[in-house]
């Protein structure tokens, strides 16, 4: 009985959103598909021609593309565990009773990094991590570390900002999970054992799983999308040490103007994204509906 409505009603409710999203989401995608099958250079529009899958072949065999992809995954692999560990720590601290005022303050402070414009984070990074007049080296006791000009340090710097901006998100999500643990169960468990680890593992963790899954999905997607902060901080340099996948595609498409090749790269990235999203959602998000 419930939920039985006419097709017309369904369409009236959902149609506008589908059409709207199709217009801005699917139409460009189809166009990108078309471009990716052509030689299509913005500065050579007179020479546009169909070349089949040549662009795809170029991308698939281009080690620079896969290096950028690998670098992106490596960033995810470094930053995400840090965010999870720190986020869980912060959530556990905030979850303890007492010290209400300072904890409220802490909770409010955690909102700030998340809301900060990503491009501004990069600009801020340039100012704070400058080797000479940056405050970071000063706070490290007058260290003379070359952050922006050294490939490894630059990567570390990107990890730092990613962790700075997104650990609060992880912390707040996990904190929300912790508050869902029914009080009686938690208290009962604490009577049984003094081991915090045991409580975390057997009592609290089950309530954290959905949040962890969401974090995993969103952080993976956002790392594949990562552009603004790196663009303003290092522009992918020095060398290619911070050239992540979205930066690379932007460079090919809007600096080299080879939109055909960039479209092929973008579509391959999209396919990878969808496969990952499918895996995450289908595997972890089974309880949907």
């Amino acid at each position: 009985m419930r939920g039985k409505v006419s097709r017309r009603t369904i369409f009236a409710f959902i149609g506008p959103a589908v059409i709207g999203l199709a217009m801005v989401g699917i139409a460009p995608l189809l166009y990108a598909l078309w471009t990716s099958l052509h030689f299509f250079n913005l500065t050579k529009l007179k020479k546009v021609k169909f070349i089949g899958f040549e662009n795809y072949w170029t991308v698939l065999t281009d080690e620079v593309f896969w290096q950028a992809m690998g670098r992106t995954m490596f960033l995810l692999g470094t930053a995400l565990p840090l965010q999870l560990a720190l986020g869980l720590g912060i959530a556990l601290v905030l979850h303890q009773p007492g010290l209400t005022l300072i904890k409220t303050l802490a909770r409010l402070s955690l909102v700030l990094p998340m809301a900060t414009t990503y491009a501004v984070v990069g600009l801020l990074g340039q100012v704070m991590f400058n080797q000479k007049f940056g405050v970071v080296n000063q706070l490290m006791g007058g260290a003379n570390i070359n952050w922006i000009g050294d490939p490894e340090n630059a990567f570390v710097m990107i990890v730092f900002w990613d962790v700075w901006q997104w650990t609060p998100f992880v912390a707040l999500v996990l904190l929300a999970g912790l508050t869902m643990v029914p009080g009686e169960i938690e208290e009962a468990a604490r009577l049984e054992t003094t081991s915090k680890w045991t409580v975390l593992r057997y009592v609290q963790l089950p309530f954290l799983i959905p949040g962890l899954v969401a974090v995993l999905i969103l952080r993976t997607a956002d790392t594949l999308k990562l552009f603004d902060m790196v663009f303003t901080l290092t522009r992918g340099g020095p060398g290619s040490s911070t050239e992540f996948i979205s930066l690379m595609i932007q460079r090919v498409g809007f600096r080299g103007f080879d939109q055909g090749l960039a479209s092929a790269q973008a579509i391959i990235l999209l396919i990878i994204t969808i496969i990952l999203a499918q895996i995450y959602i289908r595997v972890f998000y089974k309880e949907v509906n």
């Binding site: 419930r2 999203l21 801005v24 166009y31 409010l108 801020l124 595609i249």
Partner: protein, 275 residues
């Protein structure tokens, strides 16, 4: 019981919390103070903490370089796209939560997937389409393209919210002959308001902060604030004071907004993410 809780010493906790707060807040402190420095002071090594503040960077940024106009553009665009996302997204979310139809799961999945698509995938072709339609450097172009990430947020959060509302209420209304639209508007929507608010907050913040589309699809008339902040980065001379002043102007409004709405924001994380 009490013994287990007070295990970690209080002062340790306090110190930890202060560190957390300091790490979160310090970059903003540094941003604001740098924005109040003259160019020469900003480049002093090692950096100085006490100096005579000046508002010259703000004056220059706001009135000479036109940052003010880009802030207004960003505001208009973020509000409009959020409104549009709600108008389109709320009914769709209602349908996904309440109606049974074929392909529903796939549709839901498609909506959500859009949230994960890198903007660079769409930016290239959207630029070419906008160019053919004469829509470059127009507010409406950004308002529409921002739907690609706002609509999924609205649908994700609001669908969850609608699902949490008991069916009995609809049932009763339907027996009285109310249309589905009426049920949504008069019965479910008021109850789902927290979720709607949360999704609106998120989509506003995401739109305000967006850079790549703003950079590629606008030039002057519709230029957004983040795109403006980036445009001072000429390799010839980096006016850090001015860059930080512009950054402050962009970030402070959204931070205040986020703080005011922090309760809803955190609840949003619970709903969209934890549920």
């Amino acid at each position: 019981m009490a013994a287990a809780r007070t295990q970690s010493p209080l002062w340790g906790q306090i110190a930890l919390l202060i560190v957390i707060i300091a790490v979160c807040v310090f970059p903003f402190y540094w941003m604001v103070t740098t924005s109040l420095k003259t160019h020469v002071v900003a480049l002093e090594a090692p950096p100085v903490w006490i100096f005579e503040p000046t508002l010259a960077n703000y004056r220059e940024a706001l009135f000479e370089d036109g940052v003010l106009r880009t802030l207004i553009n960003s505001l208009v665009i973020a509000i409009c796209t959020t409104g549009l996302a709600l108008v389109l997204g709320v009914p769709a979310a209602f349908a996904l939560a309440r109606f049974e139809f074929r392909g529903k799961k796939d549709l839901w999945f498609w909506f959500i997937t859009n949230r994960m698509v890198s903007p660079i995938v769409l930016a290239l072709p959207f630029f070419l389409i906008a160019r053919n339609l004469g829509l470059l450097d127009k507010h409406v172009t950004l308002i529409l393209i921002y739907l690609t990430f706002n609509l999924p947020i609205v649908i994700w959060i609001v669908t969850d919210q609608f699902r949490g509302i008991p069916y009995d209420l609809d049932e009763a209304a339907r027996l009285e002959g109310a249309s589905q639209f009426r049920i949504m508007r008069s019965i479910c929507l008021p109850l789902a308001m927290p979720g709607v608010a949360v999704s609106a907050i998120f989509s506003f913040i995401f739109s305000w902060n967006e850079l790549m589309f703003g950079l590629i699809l606008t030039r002057t008339d519709a230029k957004t604030a983040p795109a403006m902040a980036v445009s001072f980065m000429e390799g010839y001379n980096l006016p850090y004071g001015k860059i930080m002043a512009t950054s402050t102007l962009i970030v402070i409004p959204v931070l205040i907004f986020a703080l005011l709405a922090s309760k809803q924001l955190v609840r949003g994380l619970t709903m969209g993410a934890v549920k």
